[in-house]
């Protein structure tokens, strides 16, 4: 196995034992980036020099005998919608192509304080709107398991980078499935924490009441380690929760015997790929074998999730994205008067999907339509949340597929927004309810495409999700497989 194939906790041991330096590790990952990036295209910006300098600082600190955390010296990547001081933050949009923030997002600050080494900023669907990275204004990221296919989205760059060994872990953001769906399509672990668990300060907002930052990692242990660093109340974010943060690694290794698992039937119905469904049910039987009690259940308002989401998320987006007006930063198209400057800047700066959602959202909030759309959607959102509340009175964890299908071909759904929106049918209700959701690799289709299983928990019960995911992971070896990329040792292992 190559260095870039190792997990953070494995590398942490090597770094502590001084079998490798952070600088050497960073060089190795940067070499891997050089090797596979032309094919994968996960990064919008690679911060080579800054990464090497940060790695050397970790080595110096270690040489001084400083007490370093488990992620010190670990190369990682950040989705390009989180602000990084001095490093451009584009949201994969023309309108912010050259925007360099004067401040760091809270998560970036916390990861830097933990000694992690940022390799670069990863590609996404423009402003996190999409499920394939095809909406990036710059280029489409490819799925390392099949370069003809999408990596999922919107955190496609973050998922592909981890799957391809171009980063040991990464951060994504998830508004309707944007961490979990690409994690599923790229065979990595992806966690959307409870709304309020991780500070959103510095995350360029798409839909503020749904957005949440979370990790994409090679295994469950790494997920717990990253959560330990990024979680917790932040005085800069009024919506971050003043809830105590446990040491998430303490949940790893706890048995699942007697744990009650519900399978909501609406998530195994029409529209879910037969092969995907079979793989999930096989995975569920593994947990059953470990002593978990599995039952079928129901979340009756699930059908309304997609329409509710496609009112609320665009409504918030139409307001959040209004600040990109060409006045203070980002793209400005000069025009003879103010109104044309606004119009031309925003027409030229935003891609088609972003414009579509701004128009939908503006419409939904307009006087005379507010009650019928926005207000009604909020009411249905409450019903959807109550479905989950009721289910969690009975069950510790719910299990569903993460994505209704495995990775689709690039271009396959690009011209059909509704088909594309359906990619998130299993993940969207989770954001509406604000609960945590984790996607864990649980097998491959006959074509060799990864499939992810989604575990859902009560608010702030990320620990339970990690407990179940770890138990499953330790009983299987899907997480050890690496995609068959040119020059990749992992490719042979998979074949």
């Amino acid at each position: 196995m190559e260095i870039y194939d190792l997990t953070a906790h494995e590398l942490s041991r090597l770094l502590k034992a001084r079998e490798i330096s952070a600088a050497e590790l960073t060089e190795a990952v940067l070499e891997r980036v050089d090797e596979v990036e032309p094919a994968v295209r996960a990064y919008v910006t690679v911060t080579r020099e800054e990464a090497l300098a940060a790695a050397r600082r970790v080595d110096e600190a270690r040489a001084r005998g400083e007490d370093l955390g488990p992620l010190a010296g670990i190369p990682m990547a950040v989705k390009d919608n989180m602000c990084t001081r001095t490093v451009r933050t584009t949201c994969s949009s023309r309108i912010l192509e050259n925007f360099i923030p004067p401040y760091d997002a809270t998560v970036v600050e916390r990861l830097a304080a933990a000694g992690t080494v940022m390799i670069g900023k990863t590609n996404l669907d423009e402003f996190a709107m999409g499920s394939s990275t095809e909406n990036s204004a710059f280029f489409t990221t490819r799925n390392p398991w099949d370069l003809e296919r999408v990596p999922g989205g919107s955190s496609g760059g973050s998922a592909a980078a981890v799957a391809a060994g171009e980063a040991v872990f990464s951060l994504g953001s998830d508004t309707g499935g944007s961490i979990r769906q690409p994690a599923s399509l790229c065979s990595v672990v992806g966690l959307k924490p409870t709304y309020g668990r991780v500070s959103r300060f510095g995350l360029v907002a798409f839909a503020s009441s749904l957005d949440q930052i979370g990790p994409l990692t090679k295994d469950v242990t790494d997920c717990a380690l990253v959560m330990n660093v990024i979680s917790g109340w932040d005085k800069m974010d009024s919506t971050s929760a003043p809830v105590e943060v446990p040491d998430f690694t303490q949940f790893l290794g706890r048995e699942v015997r007697g744990l009650k698992i519900g399978l909501p039937r609406e998530f195994f119905a029409e529209g879910i790929d037969r092969e995907v469904k079979e793989i999930i049910l096989t995975a569920v039987r593994v947990l059953e074998g470990l002593g978990a009690v599995v039952e079928e259940t129901s979340l009756p308002h699930s059908d309304y999730s997609l329409p509710v989401y496609y009112i609320l998320a665009p409504a918030e987006a139409s307001s959040n994205l209004a600040r990109f007006d060409g006045v203070r930063y980002g793209l400005r198209v000069d025009a003879p008067d103010l109104i044309s400057m606004y119009g031309q800047t925003r027409s030229r700066g935003f891609g088609a999907e972003v414009r579509r959602r701004i128009i939908i959202g503006t419409y939904a909030l307009s006087s005379g339509y507010y009650d019928a759309y926005y207000k009604k959607a909020q009411q249905v959102r409450t019903l959807i949340k109550q479905d989950f509340d009721r289910a969690f009175e009975k069950y510790d964890v719910l299990i569903t597929p993460t994505s209704p299908t495995p990775a689709f071909k690039i271009g396959e759904k690009a011209d059909n927004p509704i088909q594309m929106y359906l990619s998130d049918i299993c993940t969207i209700p989770v954001n509406l309810a604000g609960i945590p959701g984790l996607s864990i690799p649980c097998g491959f289709t006959a074509e060799g495409l990864p499939v992810g299983m989604q575990l859902l928990g009560k608010p702030f019960a990320e620990g339970t999700l990690l407990q179940v995911a770890y138990a499953y992971e330790q009983s299987t070896d899907h997480h050890k497989k690496r995609p068959p990329l040119a020059g990749a040792a992992g490719g042979e292992r998979h074949a």
Binding site: M82, C83, T89, C91, L96, F99, P101, P102, Y103, A105, R200, F201, G202, L203, V204, A205, A207, S208, S209, K235, M236, D237, S238, T239, A315, E316, S318, S319, A322, R323, F324, D325, V327, R328, Y329, D337, L338, Y342, T362, L365, S366, S367, Y370, Y374
Partner: protein, 482 residues
């Protein structure tokens, strides 16, 4: 319809900047007049990714103001986004409160021609201010370039909305003055219209006297002084009444007060009105206000202008007019209270403050606390008059110097040799000299010309450089001329 049969109906929307040290959603300073864009940060510049966090002091000030305006504080309220594009609005939305304001249902009492009128307050809500545009030209359309200063962006504001209870431009002016006085008493705002820390928009309509329904209203903006509010409303009232008298219809629109031409001009009609697409701001949690905290704030409210005015009349026996003038600003009323404590002759203090102190304050356009004058000074000065050391006239001269320099009045009197001449022998000698030097005037007086007496008093004063005890001079002259 004759103009005389029409009644004016006015409602005011007043924006007041709160005098907190930092902005409403970030920690930048609110200082006025700093170099452009020096009190800014990623948050008040609306950079991508930033989030607002409410300044508790701003909330406290807003609650103070609302309580002083006799409002109910809503146990649950929330912030909403008011969406519109403008270069001084960095997020392209203003964080404000829409359908669930912080406070509602208050009132302010004003006195119009000696009669009390109650103006009801519909609501008080909290919001953020926008930045300021500077155009190289008349306006944004005609300007070659426009510059933006974001120092003001995020300064906390309260908006105070009255019910349509105001019946004349004069009532509007009185209401606004009263609001200003109350807010100044509370210390929550400096209420300077010229610096924009108090701004006023008005809705005005007219209707047949006695009618129940409101007429079609216009909204008047850009009235940037108390005088402008009065003049602007007076103009608009006349315009609407004349239009109706001429059988025309009033068009619902927003009108702009043009100070230079003293007219209101149409800015935009109803069709062009913005759709602000209000919705709850998902970046802020709802405001759930603790009752105990509200009561604590209520207990900490200072004595307000109405209560103080009544006390001044009751406790000090002042006429209503004096009490009104002395309580028009908290600092002046504090000054007066303290003077009376040190020199317990309320009427004497009131007379001096109302004449001399206010004359100099008005001449210099200053507040009492911005001068070196203290209550101790004034009490001492009045003491010198009372004990006969100086005359009332000399006291005025001495006061001018105290007001300018803050020096001790007794020292000034001593240094300038201003002690009053009350020695009867010395004054009698001077009176004799004056009479001897003015035989013609003396003859006039004896011939019945009363005015001649005043001239002779003046001559004695002149000879003593004003130091002669006036009562004694009168007495001596009368004796010697009889």
């Amino acid at each position: 319809m004759r103009k005389e049969d029409l009644e004016t109906v006015i409602g005011l929307e007043v924006h007041v900047e709160l005098a907190t040290k930092s902005k409403i959603f970030c920690s930048c300073s609110t200082e006025f007049g700093a170099p452009p864009n020096t009190h800014v940060c990623p948050i008040c510049l609306g950079l991508p990714g930033v989030l607002p966090v409410l300044n508790k002091k701003a909330l406290e000030y807003a609650v103070r103001a609302a309580l002083a305006l006799n409002c109910e504080i809503a146990p649950f309220s929330k912030f909403d986004r008011k969406n519109y594009f403008y270069p001084d609005l960095p997020k392209a939305y203003q964080i404000s409160q829409y359908d669930q304001p912080l406070a509602y249902g208050g009132y302010v009492d004003i006195e119009v021609n000696g009669e009390k009128r109650r103006i009801r307050i519909k609501r008080v809500h909290l919001e953020e201010d926008a930045g300021k545009l500077l155009h190289a030209g008349d306006d944004i359309a005609g300007a070659a370039t426009s510059l933006v200063d974001f120092n003001r962006s995020g300064v906390p504001l309260i908006e105070i909305v009255s019910e349509p209870d105001i019946r004349s431009p004069e009532e509007a002016r009185l209401y606004l003055m009263k609001l200003k006085t109350i807010l100044e008493y509370l210390g929550v705002s400096d209420c300077k219209m010229e610096e924009g820390s108090l701004r006023c928009d008005a809705n005005l309509s007219v209707r047949p006297r006695g009618a129940k329904e409101l007429g079609t209203k216009t909204e008047i903006k850009n009235m940037n002084s108390f005088r402008a509010v009065f003049k602007g409303l007076e103009y608009e009232e006349r315009r609407q009444k004349e239009a109706l008298a001429a059988g025309e219809e009033i068009v619902q629109e927003t009108r702009h007060w043009d100070e230079n031409r003293s007219v209101t001009v149409s800015m935009r009609g109803k069709e062009e009105a913005h759709d602000y697409r209000y919705f709850p701001d998902p970046d802020l949690v709802p405001l759930i206000i603790d009752r105990a905290w509200v009561e604590e704030i209520r207990r900490s409210l200072p004595e307000l202008p109405d209560a103080r005015r009544e006390r001044f009349q009751r406790e000090y026996g002042l006429p209503a007019y004096d009490a009104e003038v002395l309580t028009a600003s908290r600092t002046l009323a504090d000054f007066y209270d303290e003077c009376v404590r040190l020199f317990p002759d309320p009427k004497a203090v009131s007379n001096f403050v109302m004449s001399e102190v206010l004359r100099l304050l008005n001449a210099e356009g200053k507040d009492i606390v911005d001068t070196p004058l203290t209550p101790q000074h004034l009490a001492k000065l009045l003491g010198l008059v009372k004990e006969g050391t100086i005359s009332g006239k000399i006291a005025k001269d001495v006061f001018e110097e105290v007001f300018k320099t803050g020096r001790d009045p007794a020292e000034i009197v001593k240094e300038r040799g201003l002690v009053q001449i009350s020695d009867e022998g010395e004054l009698a000698r001077i009176v004799d000299e004056v009479l001897a030097a003015n035989p013609a005037v003396v003859a006039d007086y004896r011939g019945g010309k009363e005015k001649a007496f005043t001239f002779l008093v003046g001559q004695v004063m002149k000879a003593t450089r004003g130091k002669a005890n006036p009562a004694l001079v009168n007495k001596l002259l009368k004796e010697k001329l009889s």
